[in-house]
Symmetry: C2
Subunit: 481 residues, 2 copies
């Protein structure tokens, strides 16, 4: 990288907050998706909107690509650096700027962790979107990926809670979209920026809606002899008008793995359904009896109700342990994030089972059943030649099965680097062009997180909506992704 | 208008479905906001996506501006024609294309009325956003204006229910954004298109989320001796964690006017608070007692509970009659649509009262109290010279008061032609530029509903985000708006 840019970045953030040495940069080579690696030329840690703005403007002037990064816990490679580019690390910007519980609003910097938003407004209020990584993941990353979580079926995703953003655009311009109110006049750019994976700019200030904590929470786990039966219970619960706070399913493989870590005494049955109701005491109690009855009617002969908060925590630990616990039964795994219409659950689960048999590989299933958001974990052994490739192929076929069922390639992890190859399966060329039109209006030089989200790197041309080949691609660098 | 364009449009929609005679066009000169008038050169009534696409392409090729119109019941002049332009009337496209209650989805054409969506999925399901005009207003218009309604406090606005759109862009290109699922990969253009007031393109197919109908509905009206006391009751109800289906306030003027039409025997007290709870039987009953207790604690000595569905309908008739009933006590009125943080209700209402006294004019207040969405009705007599101007000035000051309180110029009616002059009060020049960047990417020629939404007509230039004066403006035509 040009020494002048390094000098300029050093001037902006101070010597202490720019890393250029290899050993310093190693931490930043991947995000939570460890398959992908890239070395930035420099990582800078700005501490204010003005510093972010100056850093982006310097990159823009030098024509150097840059990537914003929060905690780096994302699972789609969204925060993967661009080789020889600049990484803008936002972990120092973790101030809570305003708390207004009377109006249910909080304003934070992007580096605040998801859990700390709830902590700041609790116990009377809470911030609903709850990725499993909520203790470490940052709100800025949640905004970039439109993160979800177990409670999003009832409460909605990140995009349903962001009311305003202060953003440094790709060309260094500072804008504010939305604000304090739920809805603003003019175009709703908020929706477009939430989930744009850092390709339009970087949020430096985030206004969030928080909601009163529920009076009561009641949780159960019901065991079934088939995933079909559990799937029917999900349909009956939802169609009966009950809106559970969370409704999660784990299959036998996932139960088995989690049990090794969580020691909850769960039986390795075909499916475990975790159902949580929250709301008023009256509502919860009445509805809870209904849910128990539905589970039993659908064939569950083992329904366990969490007697107290510690037992409820054990239930959730089992669910949240599923990902890390897979490491105990398999050296490596790919996690998918497909979405299907809820009614297609049994059919798609069967298809996944058939595919796993054909490939002679283990696929464990853990998922947000209410949303139809599947997380199939395709297990493989990275040391075995060809195994990773086989697992990746199988992963792709699982995504195809979701698409065939009328679903989507990602529910909450984002497209990033990992799923962009699937984008043309889901979108017509004109629809991808529509994305590109937006991209070009806010990041005309294509320097903000290039190579992510869109299937092929593209550059904005003179006419909005029409573009030519991106120089990365022309230089053959696109291959790297 | 160029005879060739008329011939081309006639060829596309058929002779029967193009109006060019003055008497035919008179119906289309205004929308629900009767202060503004303009005569289009032609109104066309296409009957399919292909026809809409061909009409827009023909306008685009001829460089003629066009405006999409549904039922024309909007209150911001959003569907006001452009003088000598083309009006694309979507009332023939009113097919319900798909109903999938298992997954809570319905797909409709833009001309379907709001009420007919609920009718199509009822009684087990319903479509929550409910503008007062729901019997006539069309879903296409609801999407364009991101319409709200009395039940949006609990259920959210149109934008929270649109899961997919098929859109003909300003240049005639056909794209699909979003789809069947709640969330899609890539940029969320759905949010940007919902509420874009026809300035980016026109929706030809709309996928909506519908939800199970509540088990029970319970409604009360509580009377207070001051709007402050009623405002406090609103705050206490909401902060106590109750989320009413609707929470509406009317002041003495509004009660008085409605009583003349609704004959409900309501007393002309300082404020009436209409609270509706919906949900499960258990939940409603328990919470309802809480609401009654809060109203009494806040000073209401007259709480009336609707005993049955007919009485509930009377309560709602009183609320919905407020606008038309004002016609009985005043020859004309302006309706505003300001939003304020809920906690600022008492302060802003007092300011409105002071302003009304200063101007010696009557201002009635009807509003969605939960959202802080005010609808001050500024009464005037159009036959009295200068009265309309005085009322408009007062209206502007009321909007300023909302903005001073940290609020917004519109909650649910949209910006249209009527509120665009207030946009610079709310947005910095860079933020308006950000809107324009989006506009330019999807309607580069600026032919889709020009002169609406943005404070000054602008044209997209060569570089995204930078533009020069719009020819309408250069020709002095902008003054007309």
């Amino acid at each position: 990288m040009d020494g002048r840019l390094v000098a300029e970045l050093t001037r902006i953030v101070g010597e202490e907050w720019i890393y250029t040495a290899e050993h310093q940069l190693r931490t930043y080579e991947s995000d939570g998706l460890l398959q992908y690696h890239a070395s930035p030329a420099a990582a800078v840690l700005p501490n204010s909107t003005e510093q972010v703005r100056a850093v982006v403007a310097a990159c823009s002037a030098a024509g150097v690509p840059w990537v914003a990064r929060g905690a780096g816990s994302g699972l789609s490679g969204g925060a993967l650096p661009v080789e020889d580019g600049v990484l803008v690390v936002l972990s120092r910007m973790k101030r809570i700027l305003e708390i207004d519980l009377d109006n249910g609003r909080v304003c934070v910097e992007p580096g605040v962790t998801n859990a700390n938003v709830s902590a700041a407004v609790g116990p009377a209020f809470f911030y609903p979107p709850d990725p499993s990584s909520q203790i470490v993941c940052s709100i800025g990353g949640n905004v970039a990926e439109n993160s979800g979580g177990a409670h999003c079926f009832k409460y909605g995703f990140t995009t349903n809670y962001v009311t305003g953003l202060e953003i440094v655009l790709g060309d260094g311009e500072l804008i504010t979209v939305g604000g304090y109110e739920l809805d603003s006049p003019g175009y709703d750019l908020l929706g477009a920026f939430v989930g744009s994976e850092g390709t339009l700019g970087v949020a430096t200030k985030i206004w969030l809606r928080v909601v009163p904590s529920p009076e009561t929470v009641k949780t159960l786990v019901a065991f079934f002899d088939s995933t079909q039966a559990a799937g029917e219970a999900v349909s009956e619960i939802v169609q009966g008008g009950v809106v559970p706070g969370a409704i999660e399913m784990m299959d036998a493989r996932a139960i088995e793995a989690s049990e090794q870590m969580g020691h909850a005494g769960w039986s390795t049955r075909a499916a475990a359904l975790l159902v949580e109701l929250d709301g008023s005491q009256h509502e919860c109690e009445a509805r809870f009896d209904e849910v128990v009855a539905i589970c039993e009617r659908c064939g569950s002969d083992d329904v366990r109700i969490a007697r107290d908060e510690p037992e409820r925590q054990v239930f959730w630990k089992m669910r949240k342990a599923a990902f890390p616990a897979m490491g105990r039964i398999s050296p490596n795994y790919f996690v998918q994030d497909g979405v299907i219409p809820r009614t297609k659950l049994p059919e798609v689960l069967e298809r996944i089972e058939t595919l796993a048999k054909e490939y002679d590989m283990i696929v464990a299933n853990v998922f947000h059943a209410g949303d139809g958001n599947l997380h199939p974990l395709v297990c493989y052994d990275g040391r075995k030649p060809g195994d990773a490739e086989k697992a990746e192929e199988l992963s792709g076929l699982i995504i195809d099965a979701c698409l065939d069922a009328g679903g989507s390639i990602t529910g909450e992890h984002g497209v990033g680097i990992d799923k962009k190859k699937h984008m043309p399966k889901m979108f017509a060329e004109e629809d991808l062009d529509a994305f590109q039109r937006l991209r070009c209006s806010f990041d005309p030089a294509g320097l903000a997180n290039p190579g992510k989200l869109m299937p092929t790197p593209r550059l904005c041309g003179e006419v909005p909506g029409h573009y030519r080949e991106h120089p990365l691609e022309a230089a053959g660098l696109a291959e790297r992704f």
